[in-house]
């Protein structure tokens, strides 16, 4: 890595220092694949290469997330970008000896793509990636995130250099405004405009804050960017600092992401060594540094005023806005708060131009959207698509549909403050405005799929429980409203619901929306209201018929034994914890409904499928 002394010679120093297509075995070391033993895999590959004297000729590269987490650990062999899935340490020998040395691909490890005939060899030919466009993830799976040279070789820090050498702060803000970039934390506020507010506030010092407190359950987009391409986030924050006149930047990362924090710390140390942070950066006269603050477990700290309170070392309680952070933020100074992804887009926009960015996605939501696709879907993982792609394309074309032949029921976007959309809305394009019109939100990028076995009332109860746990308690509408809401939902799922409970839920939701202090309380009822809007019949079945159509609410289930199928093996009777089952050997058994506690054990143990759940 070269130490940069001035802007003049930076261009030559930024020439590719490493041909990323040379002989290399890339192994995913994102959190997902790491938990599937990819660390042992790296060791095994290096061991086999060394045994063949290839240790210094073939690089074993630890990369960020490929996105196809369901098939992890992922390995890609260059040249040729041959894509191997579910690779175990025991496969290291075959990859090295058969593929690298003999040039024969290892067929057993290729992805058997259900969308095509037979196995697929190359990374970009897999249908999971077919409709994707990797802008934000363009380095994920390709570079070693702990090596700044890899980032430089892919054009990294070229945007910072251009900004410092050729652009005024106002010019940077104009470029970001012209790109139409909207805040990727979920609200979709124009990023350039936010920067302009911070720049125009007359006070000094000013701060740049990166919101990496990705608290939404079911979301790991920010984590993947931090882990897979940490320098892109830093470069975006540096450009933001130059644009608003910032003195320092803070990355507020949740403590649940230790790997992301470690990778960011490594990246920061490398950037400082390279003279990209500190005083008089690259001889431009611009002085700036970035610090990392680890959170300590509080969802509300994703709200920008709560996040600032937490960086200051206090309880993460939000405060009323205005004043907005652009006027009065960290240590009462003007501060610009953006999401991880928003910053990471900026180097691409500067390097390739606002017009290029506008050419992707839709008119009002330019660029790509990145989703963590999870839940009841075949191919879970990280997905980046142009804005305007439909939910159906994401869930069925990319995600491969619903497992086990079950029926799609709903997709939940926007995290615990988002909403659920039913099948009729599958052709909704994903962009900030279309999703909001449909009754959900874009949010930060969580996308959880529910199938016919997911009870929507229980789903709503889950989100409400989350809000109860995570409400900071400062304002009563959120603190008390969420508890009352949860009680109503618990009554319904316990089979004790009354028709008036639905009115009560609606009344509480309106009160919380209008009078809560921050977005957590204001949006807390949205998941409940969206399920009530689209699945009211399911709520009514619980209340009026004491029935859970999805068969999930234990209290509403009844178990009975089909006398035609029962062979009288007595297994269910012997396993029943309350002795509710009676019957003679080789005779059909019977469940006493008055004694049954609906635990489901009989259903689980029956080998003949004779226990019927109704």
């Amino acid at each position: 890595m070269a130490i940069r002394t001035g802007l003049g010679n930076l261009k030559s120093e930024l020439a590719p220092v490493d041909d990323m297509g040379r002989r290399a075995i890339a192994v995913c070391r994102g959190t997902g694949c790491s938990s599937s033993a990819s660390a042992e895999l790296v060791q095994a590959l290096r061991g086999v290469l060394a045994a063949h004297g290839l240790g210094d000729q073939v690089e074993v590269r630890r990369t960020g997330c490929f996105g196809f987490c369901a098939q992890g650990p992922i390995v890609v062999v260059y040249p040729g970008e041959v894509f191997y899935t579910q690779v175990t340490p025991e496969d290291a020998r075959a990859i090295v000896e058969q593929h690298v040395i003999d040039g024969q691909r290892v067929d057993g490890l290729l992805y058997d793509d259900p969308a095509t005939e037979g196995v697929t060899e190359k990374w970009h030919e897999i249908s999971f990636y077919g409709k994707q466009q990797r802008v934000l993830l363009h380095n994920c799976g390709i570079i070693d995130p702990e090596n700044i040279d890899h980032y430089l070789a892919r054009g990294g820090y070229g945007a910072l250099k251009r900004v410092l050498a050729q652009m005024t702060p106002e010019g940077v803000i104009e470029e970001v405004k012209a790109s139409g970039l909207r805040g990727r934390g979920g609200a979709g506020f124009p990023t350039g405009l936010k920067w302009q507010f911070a720049r125009s506030t007359q006070a000094w010092p000013k701060y740049v804050i990166c919101n990496a407190d990705e608290g939404d359950p079911g979301a790991f987009m920010d984590r993947s960017v931090l882990e897979g391409d940490p320098h892109a986030v830093l470069e975006g924050m540096m450009i933001a600092g130059y644009a608003i006149g910032g003195r320092a930047g803070y990355v507020y990362c949740r403590a649940e992401y230790p790997l992301a924090i470690r990778r960011m710390e490594i990246a920061l140390a490398q950037a400082r060594d390279a003279g990209l942070l500190g005083e008089d950066i690259l001889g431009s006269g611009f002085g700036y540094d970035i610090y990392i603050k680890a959170g300590a477990g509080a969802f509300v700290c994703g709200e920008e005023t709560a996040l600032i309170a937490s960086i200051e070392g206090g309880r993460g309680n939000p405060r009323p806005r205005p004043p907005y952070p652009a006027v009065e933020g960290l240590w009462h100074q003007p501060s610009n708060v953006n999401n991880v992804k928003s910053y990471a887009y900026v180097p691409h926009i500067i390097r390739r131009g606002a017009a290029w960015f506008r050419g992707i996605g839709t008119e009002k939501s330019p660029g790509t959207a990145i989703f963590a696709l999870t839940g009841k879907v075949n191919r879970t993982g990280l997905v980046e698509v142009p804005m305007g792609t439909t939910l159906r394309e994401i869930i069925f074309d990319i995600g491969g549909g619903i497992p086990d032949g079950k029926a799609f029921k709903a997709v939940q976007t926007g995290g615990p403050l988002g909403g659920c959309l039913p099948e009729a809305y599958l052709d909704t394009p994903v962009d900030f405005d279309s999703l909001r019109e449909a009754g959900s939100v874009m949010g930060s990028g969580g996308m959880v799929v529910a199938d016919e076995t997911t009870c929507m009332v229980e789903f709503a109860k889950y989100f409400t429980q989350f809000v109860c746990d995570e409400s900071c308690g400062k304002c009563p509408p959120c603190r008390l409203g969420s508890i009352r809401m949860l009680e109503a939902l618990e009554r319904i799922t316990a089979g004790l619901g009354k028709p008036e409970d639905l009115d009560e839920i609606r009344r509480l939701a309106e009160g919380m929306r209008q009078s809560s202090l921050c977005a957590l309380g204001q949006l807390a009822a949205d998941p409940v209201m969206s399920t009530l809007r689209h699945f009211e019949d399911e709520y009514r079945a619980h209340i009026e018929e004491r029935r859970c159509p999805a068969g999930q609410c234990q209290a509403l289930l009844t178990y009975s034994i089909d006398p035609e199928t029962c062979v009288g093996c007595t297994l269910c009777a012997r396993n029943c914890p309350v002795e509710a089952i009676s019957g003679e050997r080789r005779e059909p058994h019977v469940i006493d409904q008055a004694v049954c506690i609906r635990c489901g054990t009989c259903h689980d143990v029956c080998r003949f499928g004779a226990v019927v759940v109704g």
Binding site: T31, A372, L382, Q412, P416
Partner: protein, 147 residues
Amino acid sequence: MYADQPGSLIQILQGAQDVYGYLPADVLQRIADRLGVALGKVYGVATFYSQFYLERRGRHVLKVCDGTACHVQGAAALADAVSSEYGIEPGETTADGELTTEIVYCLGSCALAPVTVLNDQVMGKMRPEDLLRRIKQSLQASPKSGA
């Protein structure tokens, strides 16, 4: 090292917890004295964040993720299985001080749902019987010293 830096209370508490495993009352008092702030302020911060513990925790810690993706993939069954096997509810520690279980919201490994973390080791696509076996192995592999 943080005492002179403003806004470092959370980092100080994290450091103290790394040393003691939890935050004993006298440690909170010492931090307050050293920083020259009221004990109430330190206590307020320590109780606000879910990752600070005011009570001693088990030698083995199991986190069961109940993020949305894990929830729809059956996280509740995992938590129930552990509760009935060891007789503790989430957030509690067994009487012998061996095992603490807790529910957490989202570890960001949603593609591997349902996810559990046993002593910092992430275990994806868990089923109740596998989880119970892993816990048992872990408890047996490192018996209590002197036991």
